[in-house]
Amino acid sequence: MNVEPARRRIAGGLTIAASLIVPAVCAPTLAAAPVRLVVADHVAPDGTLGGPIAIEIDRGTIVSVGTPDEDEPAIAGVLSPGIIDIFSGVGVTGGTRDDIKPIADDITAMDAIDPLHPSFAEAAAAGITAVMVGPTPSNPVSGLAVTVSTHADGGVLDVLNDESAMVFSLGPPAVDTRYGPTSRAGILFAIRAAMEESGEDSMLGRVAEAGLPAIVFCPDGDDAAQAIQMMGGFGLSPNIVHSRDALDLSSDLEDYEGTFIIGPYTFDARPDVLAGAGFLDRAGVRVVSHGATSNQPYDSIRMTATLASGYGLAPDAARRSFTSEAAALAGVDDLTGSIREGFRADLVLWSGDPLRADVQPQRVWVYGDLMYQTPAEGSAP
């Protein structure tokens, strides 16, 4: 699965310029009139392919969703909500790792984001319209994750949620050999003690009391089981970042209500790992595909979903795993992640079903702005 370097370069270099070539669809934020977009197929909010669709976009928002009129010319391809990249490296400058203290609940990833970072445009070119950026999980409580759109125009961040989730970490990354904790028992003790003592005014207290979601990095399958058990003690269902033993865990998740963040999947992974997402889905656990970090191709989110569906994840769940479920995880599912009236016009026009490996984004809109268009479509042959 290659991303053609040429396209990436174009996208990264001068994205907006390309959009000027297609005035009919180009709808800058300030455009007065609504734009009507008719596409042959689309990804419905439930993840299925819903057939022809006609939507109208006004001031960055989807104002109407309907079926096209008869004989109305439709653009070939599939219209889907934009990809939401969970634990993205997009926009991050100088890293997000901080070892200052084990319970770092007052750290926020917002402080690490550079609005002018070129990776926003690169991500948009791959169909990513929003990114959740989190702190590196190097402390038992690592800090706040935030969600911004990739429409970082003119150095102003388009913040979707500045309190997406609190990030926790178990296992070796959270270990501090000099100051402790050095063991999982010690990590869990530290988290449990901190959560018990935290007041409602602290960020950690808001996890325990006020419904701020928790996302736990679990290097090992039993880390995940422990995290679920420990958080269960506070009446919470944490969201889990873990892939390897997902298949094994799926049979033990009866009362679990959180989301599993799986991936990145690669072709050389073991089949039982790749089958994990499907097993989780059948066990009633929500699944979000996780892919791109700063040193991986942006398409790896979609590759994760594609491989997962190849190994048993239902296609609709696979499509939801990088759109609506990801939006729910990031706490932005009232804004984006589905094609609905009143939602942000964060859209991607694909050349086919986005689960297919040979499909590429044709056009990408973020908040109604056309951020990317394939060179083939934009320039004369």
Binding site: D245, L247, D248, P271, D272, A275
Partner: protein, 508 residues
């Protein structure tokens, strides 16, 4: 003294006497001196598990000159036989350790192809390995180079008793040990290359030798050579004498012509095919035994109907993880071997903490997991005897076989049974009541104190009596420490065995 437990000195004295007797009689045979052992013994009253046939609920085994002369319920005890009472106990054939690399300092040379090596040069008779074997009821050990080799050397079947290797030897040069599983640091291709190369080199050397012999022969007889080179080699081959063969070729030639068996280690299923190919190429099929690793059971299909016996891995279970579900699958290998109709022998696991070091326990594990009782018992007696080509001499309690016997306190498959006595060639080689090491392991501190108290003040008789009673009740044999309690039964037998045969031998 270490040796006291195995009665090595006694045993040796009698053996020396027997050899002397043999010399006096003018019968000087290598190893045949064994048959001259003067002892005549009768083990009476015990349940006899013959292995070859039905059990005898209460019977007698008579051993004369090292061979079993009578077995049965109504056997007349010769007037001059030393009797051992096994009433309430079980008489069982001496067990056979089919493939032991213990009892040596380093069981593999670092060089890959070493057919000239012989375990004769490595066996250390004073190793605790042999003492343990005897204690555990093993009367025959097939000492072999270990598996980290290509061609490892010549093996030897020994008794786990004796002060010299000559004295221990049952059958010298029993087999050639080879391995198709890569030696450490090798890959499979290199391993097979070395193995094939060894036989190619052998062939080349033999051809050269045959030609040379033919020419020498022609020269001596002043004969004109008209034969083609092929014919010359063909005729010359017949002229090769054993003394022409060098160290590097002699043993392989002897293996090929049938003087020695071939024992081939196949550690994994994938090695079984190459092992079979080597045996077919070298025409060794009728005398090959495969020593298998735990995973090799997957190739049992290839072995069915080939008549090749196998020695199973000491770990009786093969466990593997299902690559998809992650579940562990367990295969009980002896059951699979039994169902495949293979002739198989079990090995004890010396690395186990307690139970698996006993061969009879390994057989019990087989029964627990579905192998029929008689098949499990054969796998530690008859089967290894047959694999070693000693099926007529060892492995069951039958007339004419060598008097290697174990007296268990109960059924051999009952883990609570202790090896009470071990007879090798009809000579008492081990007695539990005289096993000081075992006693030490089972010793109770307070028992010692009780004995001290008894010695110190005779007045306190009641306590000491209680102590003795209590320890007698314990099946563990902690009572054996208490010489006073044990004296009656123990002293008789030891006197009888210790002195009578020796005297007799001396007179003879």
């Amino acid at each position: 003294m270490v040796l006291s437990m195995v009665r090595k000195s006694d045993w040796r004295g009698r053996r020396a006497a027997s050899m002397l007797a043999g010399l006096l009689a003018g019968v000087v045979t290598c190893g045949g001196a064994w048959a001259q052992a003067p002892t005549k013994i009768a083990i009476t009253g015990g349940r006899i598990i013959t292995v070859s046939g039905d059990d005898i609920a209460q019977g007698t085994v008579v051993v004369d000159n090292g061979r079993i002369t009578a077995v049965g319920a109504d056997v007349e005890i010769p007037f001059d036989a030393v009797e051992y009472d096994a009433t309430g106990k079980v008489v069982f054939p001496g067990m056979i350790h089919p493939h032991a690399a213990g009892g040596m300092d380093v069981p593999n040379e670092s060089q890959p192809v070493t057919p000239f090596l012989n375990v004769y040069d490595a066996i250390d008779p004073s190793r605790r390995f042999f003492e343990d074997a005897l204690r555990d009821g093993v009367t025959t050990v097939h000492a072999s180079p270990a598996n980290n080799t290509v061609i490892g050397g010549v093996t030897r079947v020994v008794r786990p008793i004796g002060l010299s290797i000559a004295e221990m030897t049952v059958s010298a040069d029993a087999a050639m040990k080879m391995s198709v599983t890569p030696k450490r640091g090798y890959d499979r291709m290199r391993q097979m290359l070395e193995l094939r190369e060894a036989f190619h080199t052998l062939d080349r050397k033999l051809e050269d030798l045959a030609e040379k012999r033919f020419e020498e022969d022609a020269e001596e007889n002043d004969r004109t050579v008209r034969e083609s080179p092929e014919e010359r080699r063909e005729q010359g081959r017949a002229l090769i004498r054993d003394e022409d063969l060098g160290d590097d070729t002699r043993n392989l030639v002897r293996m090929r012509r049938g003087d020695m068996a071939a024992w081939i280690y196949a550690g994994a299923a994938t090695d079984v095919g190459p092992a079979l190919k080597i045996t077919e190429d070298q025409e060794l099929t009728d005398r090959t035994t495969l020593v298998l690793g735990a995973t090799a059971h997957k190739a049992f299909g290839e072995l069915e109907g080939k008549g090749i016996g196998v020695v199973l891995d000491e770990s009786l279970f093969d466990r593997e993880r299902d690559p998809f579900t992650g579940d562990i699958r367990e295969t009980f290998v002896p059951k699979k071997a039994h169902d495949a109709g293979l002739l198989f022998a079990l090995q004890p696991s010396p690395s186990s903490s307690l139970a698996e070091r006993y061969l009879n326990y390994q057989a019990a594990v087989c029964v627990r997991n579905g192998v029929p009782r008689d098949a499990a018992l054969k796998a530690i007696t008859m089967n290894p005897a047959e694999l070693l080509g000693l099926g007529d001499d060892l492995g069951s309690i039958d007339e004419g076989k060598i008097g290697n016997l174990v007296v268990f306190s109960g059924d051999p498959l009952d883990f609570n049974s202790w090896v009470e006595m071990v007879f090798i060639d009809g000579i008492l080689a081990y007695e539990r009541s005289k096993d000081h090491r075992l006693k030490e392991l089972l010793r109770l501190e307070d028992e010692n104190k009780a004995r001290e108290a008894e010695e110190d003040e005779d007045a306190d008789e009641i306590d000491a009596q209680d102590g003795a009673d209590a320890s007698e009740d314990d099946a563990a044999g902690s009572d054996s420490d208490d010489t006073a309690a044990d004296g009656d039964s123990g002293a008789d037998s030891s006197d009888a065995s210790g002195n009578a045969p020796g005297n007799e031998g001396g007179e003879g």
